[in-house]
């Protein structure tokens, strides 16, 4: 079927099976491989994108459900001031090891800060626990989110 959607501010029309996940439409049909395939089951968060501003797992979002919606991916998140701030914090703190999960981490972190601009350590852990980093760069992910939020990178001693 023919589906129209907006991706990073640009109108796109794709021909795809209705049940094809948004993840695979992005990667295969729109040649945007920044959104990553990790588990295909909504368990790892590597494929996180924003759908009408909300963080969703694109591997669990049939393309039919994205019809007419506005999608932001890692390729476009930096067009937004907050997204850019998160990306910059990630780079400044040299967060990635292998880096494969980091697109999803950045998309989740940006969604967190959008609705909770000054998260507590518990808020960060709670929100980000859907995103696996197999290299376990969690100390730096916490610090980068705090940096992007304008909080001290190191959390205050309890």
């Amino acid at each position: 079927m023919s589906i129209s959607l907006t991706v990073n501010g640009r109108k796109r029309v794709v021909e795809a099976e209705a049940d094809k996940p948004l993840l695979w439409v992005l990667r295969e049909d729109l040649a945007m491989p920044g959104t990553k395939f990790g588990c295909g089951a909504g368990l790892c968060g590597a494929c996180t994108v924003h759908l009408d501003g909300d963080a969703v797992r694109s591997c669990q979002t049939p393309i039919a459900d994205a019809a007419g919606k506005s999608i932001t991916t890692i390729e476009g998140v930096g067009l937004n001031e907050l997204g850019k701030r998160v990306q910059d914090a990630w780079a400044a703190l040299d967060v990635p090891q292998c880096g494969y999960c980091q697109a999803g981490q950045i998309m989740s972190a940006t969604a967190l800060l959008k609705q909770n601009p000054k998260p507590t350590p518990e808020d960060i852990d709670g929100w980000m626990s859907g995103n696996i980093c197999r290299c376990a760069t969690y100390m730096r992910i916490r610090a980068a989110i705090r940096t992007a939020a304008g909080l001290p990178a190191e959390e205050a001693a309890a």
Partner: protein
């Protein structure tokens, strides 16, 4: 650890300079290999000087997140006296004839390349200095270099490397073994933090990884593998699959795990991976697997319980008379330990892209061992390795999984079946979990004897592992020099082997990730029987600083003592304390001691703080990455113990389907704080991708014991 790289490097430089004619000064040109067509500004296989005085440096090893793509070029740049801002890093292709060993494994990149890469940089510098000296008609010894320029200090004259590149490339390369290297005290790059070269691309989602490979006309492949490892294809019916629009073909191939001539994998090729993946559900395969469906976790556990109680099948190490000493010991401590099979679960699923054309196979592979993959792929494709070109992509996590090259072998055969078409083979998460090369499970029965003074005088272990023909299978061995065996007067280490059909393999800090847990947990028990805490027991057992010969490497008791003292000081260790545990382990030439502090929060273990002290020699080459590696190792190790990781087998096949069945550490379980300290000693630097992992596992188990009074002797730890 062979060092053949040193021997052959000189010929690379000579070869790369031999016939250079084309002057290419475009910084975007891929770093030229050492061939007769190398551009004139290529100083050697690793270095090309660009017109804008930037310098392209080849990074030769697979990047799996360990930071080697920055670390190796740092060594070259240091000796070339470059400003880091001048450096442009380019991933080389896989070609060991040009670049030497290109494996990401065993934390070997640093010890193997510490001198050779510096020599490459120093040789390039010497050629530039020599060219400048000729231009100015002066003695090269009167010239200095800094920030990518040759300088005559007396006159203040200087020439950029770019202006000297062509003349320098015509210089005779110096003898690498004799080229002078910088005094460590003058380092300006080594020891200074350099962020990851690919980080800007990573945070912007630009293509980097094997899975991101995209080629014109590329087709996609999904796999169906025999669920029971070692089973082969008897027959398959692809009629329904081929009827699906977009499906381009179905082929049976050999993943490299079954004898040549057999196949164990059926591959569905389509115009999209999503389509291929869905289409494979319509495939009917009859497997020839009767010989392998009898293997199961339940059977291993039952068999191991019997075997461990009987006499070992073979001896690993004997000293003195352990049995006789135990009868006279003042105290005897006995304990059984065990750990499960583990998967690697790298986040980027296994994949590989290949194209076969005109008898040549071109491959884009996220492989930790591309040379081995090339050999295996060539063999199963009926080609020679000279017919293969292998491009190395960035890798979304290695952990040892990608030392095996099944995805490359499969992609090669599929590409060969579809000449002219690039094909990307991609496993899904379930394929990845069920067709891994697992860290083998193991069982240990320990006995230790203490004399009246609490000294360890006798030690026994019966290790039950997996083997074939009286030898351990891959990654299932134990070193006879497991500490403290070499320093105990009466030792008897025995081993027994069980059969398995599972493919086994190296998981980050192989063997050490399990041995650290069983040995250092048991030593905590022995220390307690001796009335000591583990750090103090270790100090007494280590004795005077000295080198002890091991199976392959030497173990320095003084360096071990150094990190034990450092971590105890850092954490303020003052003997046994509730919720606090200690562990030490030596692996991959690195000495690490770690302390874990934990508490109970809402009925669950919360890890409050971890202290790490490590000795990896005189230099920590890239501190910002070193900290990330050490912290990652600690959390990875905690994950092996704490969150329920185990691979379960039924009817010859693996049951795990996804991360729900094999949990990984998530951010909310990570320690609140991890403090890392490096103890600098006067030894050549060694690797850091692995050695910080093993000691945290026993430190955690020992901390839980100190908190709850319950000794956990099985991984994963069952806390309820």
């Amino acid at each position: 650890m062979s060092d053949q790289i040193t021997l052959s490097r000189r010929s690379f430089i000579a070869a790369s300079l031999a016939g250079g004619t084309a002057l290419t000064l475009d910084a975007s040109v891929v770093l030229a290999a050492a061939t007769a067509t190398a551009p004139a500004d290529v100083l050697n296989a690793f270095v090309r000087i660009n017109a804008d005085n930037t310098v392209s440096i080849g990074a030769k090893n697979p990047e799996i997140g360990q930071g080697v793509k920055v670390m190796l070029p740092m060594l070259i740049a240091e000796e070339m006296d470059l400003a880091w801002e001048q450096v442009r890093i380019e991933q080389t292709d896989a070609n060991e004839k040009i670049y030497g060993v290109q494996t990401a494994g065993g934390s070997t990149a640093t010890p193997r390349n510490w001198l050779p890469m510096r020599q490459v940089g120093a040789a390039a510098r010497a050629m530039l200095v020599s060219a400048a000296a000729k231009k100015w008609g002066v003695d090269p010894a009167t010239l200095a270099t800094a920030k990518g320029a040759v300088i005559q200090t007396s006159s203040g004259k200087s020439l950029t490397y770019a202006s000297l590149a062509k003349a320098a490339a015509a210089e005779t390369p110096p003898d690498l073994a004799k080229v002078p290297l910088k005094d460590d005290k003058t380092f300006t790059i080594i020891g200074k933090s350099k962020p990851g070269v690919d980080v800007p691309k990573i945070v912007n989602g630009q293509p980097l990884y094997g899975i991101d490979t995209s080629l014109p006309g590329m087709v996609h492949a999904a796999i169906v593998k025999c669920p029971a490892h070692g089973g082969t294809v008897a027959s398959f019916d692809d009629t329904a699959v081929k009827a699906i629009p977009g499906v381009l073909g179905v082929v049976a191939v050999n993943s490299g795990f079954v004898p040549q001539g057999k196949s164990d994998t059926v591959v569905v090729i389509a115009d999209s991976w999503w389509k291929a993946s869905k289409a494979r559900e319509k495939l009917t395969v009859k497997w020839d697997d009767a010989a392998v469906t009898g293997f199961s976790t339940a059977k291993y556990v039952a068999d191991a319980a019997k075997i461990v109680a009987a006499a070992p099948q073979a001896s690993l190490f004997k000293a003195g008379d352990a049995d006789a000493t135990l009868t006279k010991a003042a105290k005897v401590v006995k304990a059984d330990y065990e750990y499960p099979f583990l998967a690697h679960a790298s986040l980027e699923p296994q994949n590989c892209t290949a194209m076969f054309q005109n008898g040549k196979l071109e491959i884009w592979a996220p492989s930790q061992a591309p040379a081995g993959g090339a050999e295996e792929t060539a063999k199963l494709c009926g080609l020679t390795t000279d017919d293969l070109t292998i491009h190395m992509t960035r890798i979304g996590g290695g952990f040892g999984r990608r030392l095996m090259n099944d995805y490359m072998v499969i992609a090669g055969q599929v590409a060969k079946a579809m000449p002219g078409k690039p094909v990307k083979v991609l496993y899904d998460r379930t394929d990845d979990f069920r067709h891994d090369f697992y860290r083998p499970a193991g069982w240990h029965r320990f006995t230790a004897g203490l004399d009246a003074n609490g000294a360890l005088i006798a030690l026994k272990d019966h290790f039950v592992t997996f083997g074939k023909d009286g030898k351990p299978i891959r990654a299932a061995q134990m070193a006879p020099s497991e500490f403290p065996a070499p320093v105990v007067p009466n030792v008897d280490l025995g081993v027994s082997y069980m059969a398995t059909n599972l493919a086994t393999g190296w998981l980050r800090a192989p063997t050490s990730n399990a041995m650290s847990f069983v040995w250092q947990s048991f030593m905590d028990e022995v220390a307690e029987a001796a009335g000591l805490d583990l750090p103090e027991f270790m100090r007494r057992t280590l004795g005077a600083p000295r080198e002890i010969a091991g199976e392959r490497v030497k173990f320095h008791t003084g360096r071990a003592r150094g990190v034990i003292d450092a971590v105890c000081k850092s954490a303020g260790w003052q003997g046994r304390k509730k919720g606090r545990g200690f562990g030490f382990y030596f692996s991959h030439l690195g000495y690490f001691a770690e302390i874990v502090d934990l508490s109970m929060k809402d009925g669950a273990i919360q890890i409050d703080k971890v202290w790490v002290a490590g000795d990896i020699g005189a230099h920590v080459i890239n501190p910002i990455n070193a900290l990330n590696q050490a912290q990652g190792c600690v959390i990875d190790g905690i994950g092996q113990a704490l969150v329920g990781q185990k691979i379960v087998q039924e009817n010859g096949a693996i049951t795990a389907e996804n991360f729900g069945d094999f949990p990984l550490m998530r951010i909310d379980a990570a320690p609140r704080e991890i403090v890392v300290e490096f103890v600098k000693t006067d030894f050549a630097p060694t690797g850091l991708g692995e050695p910080a992992l093993p000691p945290v596992i026993p430190a955690l188990a020992n901390a839980i014991y100190s908190l709850t009074g319950k000794r956990h002797r099985r991984l994963p730890l069952e806390l309820i």
